[in-house]
């Protein structure tokens, strides 16, 4: 109780200008408290201590905002939420009390792209609350921002401008604007919207698989058994060895071999039903080799409505035994470390017994990108296959049928 009083007194004494002397004093108080927030762990570990620290941090008031934002760097997702709620609780309280929060320090923090992306996004949100117009003036500078929510704002402005230019008949200007938007866009809905505009009246080709970083070229082998959904845990030969020349005994003792497969799908969909025709209670594997120019952190982002497992360089990254509850791009985000050179990727996809029309799909899509969603293209990436042109009977052919 006495300690709380000290904090309140301290908070009342400091001016919200973040002078160097104050920052040093606040650091002495805040650092151990923020360190307590960083110690929250699995299954509720550290929650009780964090709650006590959170209360003391918020008692410091506005001078704590920047140190908290700074402390988000390198913090885990739970800690970041403890810190975010502390920042917002302070901001809410100070605003209600009529305390003017100086935006200069927030803007300085925001402008430094070395800071945590979530923290910068939060700083921008506070700037918006202080002065929405002033904050909006920063948006054009966010086009290459590493924080996806900030980049999205800048791309949205370009999309609006590109549409206006198109509506005004300024095709060249619209093309330039929308291509700039596409180059910057990481948000899936925005990318789709831009691609639709470019491919429509502007008649420009857009290589979406390359933009997203979807892997389009694979080797497939199927069907192995998945009767009673037991295939998910059954270790079939491709999990023991990768030999693209080998033949194995598949479901119902039929011989199965690897075959090359390439997809021209905009979203990199690898469809087992295409080479194998729709099957039920089966397991398939897809294999590809991804050449990385450097050893680096990356994310494998998977969309799949079948049960699946993913291995990278022989290591099981993750697996999930859920069937036909839905799929979308980036449904599962799997952080990995790529080796320099060849990286072996194996995907297992299991199809179950359901017979409803919405359970036919036996497919997945996988892309390689960084944590912002920016594609990391393999050095051995092959050109995206051209989509098959559906035969449309026109002109002479149509006339002949008449």
């Amino acid at each position: 109780m006495k300690q709380s009083g000290t904090f309140i007194a301290f908070a009342l004494l400091v001016f919200i200008g973040f002078s160097p002397v104050q920052v040093r004093s606040e650091s002495a108080i805040l650092n151990p408290l923020l360190a307590t927030l960083k110690r929250v762990g699995p299954e509720g570990e550290g929650n009780a201590e964090a709650a006590a620290a959170w209360e003391k941090i918020t008692e410091v008031g506005a001078p704590a905002i920047i140190p908290i934002l700074e402390a988000m760097s390198g913090s885990g997702p739970l800690t970041r939420n403890w810190m975010r709620s502390a920042v917002e609780a302070i901001f809410e309280k100070e605003t209600k009390a009529g305390t003017a929060i100086d935006p200069a320090a927030l803007e300085t923090f925001f402008s430094n792209r070395e800071h945590d992306a979530n923290a910068r996004d939060l700083a921008y949100d506070l700037l918006t609350k202080i002065d929405a117009n002033e904050a909006a003036s920063l948006i054009p500078s966010m086009l290459d921002d590493p924080a996806p929510p900030l980049r999205r704002l800048a791309v949205a402005q370009l999309i609006t401008r590109g549409k206006s230019e198109l509506a005004a008949g300024k095709k060249e200007a619209s093309l330039a604007t929308l291509n700039e938007a596409l180059s910057a866009a990481r948000d899936i809905k925005q990318i789709n919207e831009i691609a639709k505009l470019l491919r429509g009246k502007l008649e420009q080709k857009v290589d979406l698989p390359k933009h997203f970083g979807f892997l389009s070229h694979w080797h497939l082998i199927a069907p192995f058994d998945n009767t009673g959904k037991e295939g998910f845990d059954t270790v079939f030969p491709p999990e023991k060895e990768i030999d693209l020349e080998a033949a194995y005994e598949g479901k119902e003792s039929k011989e199965v071999k690897w075959q090359e497969y390439a997809t021209s799908d905009d979203y990199g969909m690898v469809d087992f039903n295409t080479p194998y025709s729709p099957l039920k209670e089966v397991t398939g594997y897809a294999y590809t080799e991804y050449e990385s120019g450097e050893a680096r952190d990356a994310e494998l982002r998977l969309g799949c409505k079948n049960a699946w497992k993913v291995w990278l360089n022989g290591e099981l990254i993750f697996g999930r035994d859920e069937y036909h509850r839905g799929a979308r791009i980036d449904q599962y985000v799997l952080p990995v470390k790529l080796k320099k050179g060849k990286n072996a990727l194996l995907v297992k996809a299991c199809q179950n017994e359901q017979e409803q029309t919405w359970t036919v799909e036996w497919q997945f899509q996988l892309r390689v990108c960084d944590s912002t969603g920016t594609a990391i293209l393999a050095t051995n990436r092959k050109p995206t296959p051209e989509p098959e042109v559906k035969a449309r009977k026109r002109g002479a052919a149509a006339e002949e049928e008449k």
Partner: protein
């Protein structure tokens, strides 16, 4: 035998009445109020008619949600989710008197936020013990704040249990009993139920559950002087002691995975093979099946028990009233459906239900008229969330707004 059961039923009712009478104000602390079952004998004077005149206030919301509002004292609490992929989680607090926003806390989802378009990330209803708010989201983020918005603890259940999720969305709501917060995190993969310590969010117990998607919420049975939490799933109903998770009964004839049961004393009216009434004990014996009526199969809306009657709404939007003792259908009538929200009722016995198309309807079961709908108001928005009640008031939420009707 029947007489003995009637006496125990009356006894449980009297006990509930005494408990309610001793409370200063009957709060609405979780999904479907007392016992998680929709009927609140201690909430009085809920509106008898509905319209512009009864509209106390309407406030905009910052994000989507279908979890109900909960009421603690003079405050209303609600959750929402916003932003691309609904990754921003909100806990909102409003002044019950005038709808003024009091505080808001936001969090970044730590689990998967993919859902079917119809539902959303803020689908589960939060719960309260009167001192704190416990909020669960489809992303399996579980957050505790006090009534002033001070963060007390947070769990990322998908961080702890990475395969606990449902790509269609999770929707089971929380309930509190014996100082334990109970959640059903049930899905096709890493399926479990758990009891969490109210103080720090740590597991008091955790148990594997059937590997199957399940959107039902726990209900509370009052068996003698013990509270027993009933967990419903495709396998049936499992009764547990809330503080330890120790099983006390199992009904194994299967049950629905969308509408939940309605508890009344030691009886549970479960969406199982239509509607099945069971009475349970804590001595490990299988529950006694009182009756089963396949024709009274609930749709998405859960059943409700009011006094001697049990009510169900089927997929066609037909409300059926049955005798609680026998299951015999007494009357039925078509409402303006379809319904995702469940019916609720207070002490005056009026039933409040709102359709997906936003038609809030009041049904007076005591009416002599064939059409027992005595009030109707078009909210003009899609409504999937179950209404909440407070003394003299009813609350309804959409993705965009929260309404209060009454005083």
């Amino acid at each position: 035998m029947r007489g003995v059961k009637n006496l125990s039923y009356l006894g449980a009712g009297l006990l509930a009445a005494v408990v309610c009478a001793s409370t200063v104000k009957a709060d609405w602390l979780n999904f479907r109020g007392p016992q998680g079952s929709g009927y609140a004998a201690g909430i009085a004077d809920t509106p008898t008619s509905i319209g512009e005149e009864q509209l106390a206030w309407k406030v905009p919301l910052p994000g989507r949600g279908l979890g109900s509002a909960i009421l603690v004292g003079d405050k209303v609490f609600l959750t929402a989710a916003s932003g691309p992929d609904q990754q921003q989680l909100h806990i909102l607090c409003f002044n019950a008197a005038d709808g003024a926003p009091l505080w808001e806390r936001r969090f970044w989802a730590t689990g998967r936020t993919m859902t079917n378009n119809k539902t959303c990330v803020a689908a589960p209803t939060p719960a309260s013990d009167g001192e704190r708010i416990y909020a669960l989201y489809s992303s399996n983020d579980l957050i505790c704040v006090d009534l002033e918005g001070n963060l007390k603890w947070m769990r990322g259940l998908t961080l702890d249990y990475p395969n606990a999720s449902n790509s269609l969305g999770m929707a089971s709501s929380l309930i509190i009993s014996e100082k334990t917060l109970i959640a059903q995190i049930e899905n096709d993969s890493e399926s479990f139920a758990a009891g969490f310590d109210l103080a720090d969010g740590k597991n008091k117990w955790k148990m594997d559950r059937p590997k199957a998607a399940n959107w039902t919420s726990p209900t509370l049975l009052q068996i003698g002087d013990e509270e027993v939490v009933a967990l419903q799933s495709s396998k049936g109903i499992l009764g547990l002691l809330p503080a330890t998770g120790s099983p006390v009964f199992n009904y194994g004839k299967g049950a629905a995975t969308i509408p939940s049961g309605a508890a009344a004393g030691d009886q549970l009216f479960a969406p199982s093979n239509g509607l099945t009434a069971i009475t349970a004990t804590t001595d490990g014996d299988a529950p006694t099946e009182l009756w089963n009526e396949s024709a009274q199969r609930p749709g998405t809306a859960s059943p409700i028990v009011i006094g001697a009657k049990v009510y169900t709404i089927n997929t066609a939007g037909v409300l059926s009233c049955a005798d609680r003792k026998t299951g015999e259908r007494l009357w039925r009538g078509r409402l303006k459906g379809p319904f995702s929200a469940s019916p609720v009722a207070g002490a005056n016995g009026l039933i409040y239900v709102v359709s997906e198309t936003g038609v809030l309807q009041i049904i007076n079961p005591a009416s002599e008229e064939e059409n027992k709908v005595t009030g109707e108001y078009e909210l003009g928005e899609t409504i999937l969330g179950t209404p909440s009640l407070d003394d003299g008031a009813i609350y309804v939420r959409s993705d965009g707004h929260l309404w209060k009707f009454g005083k």
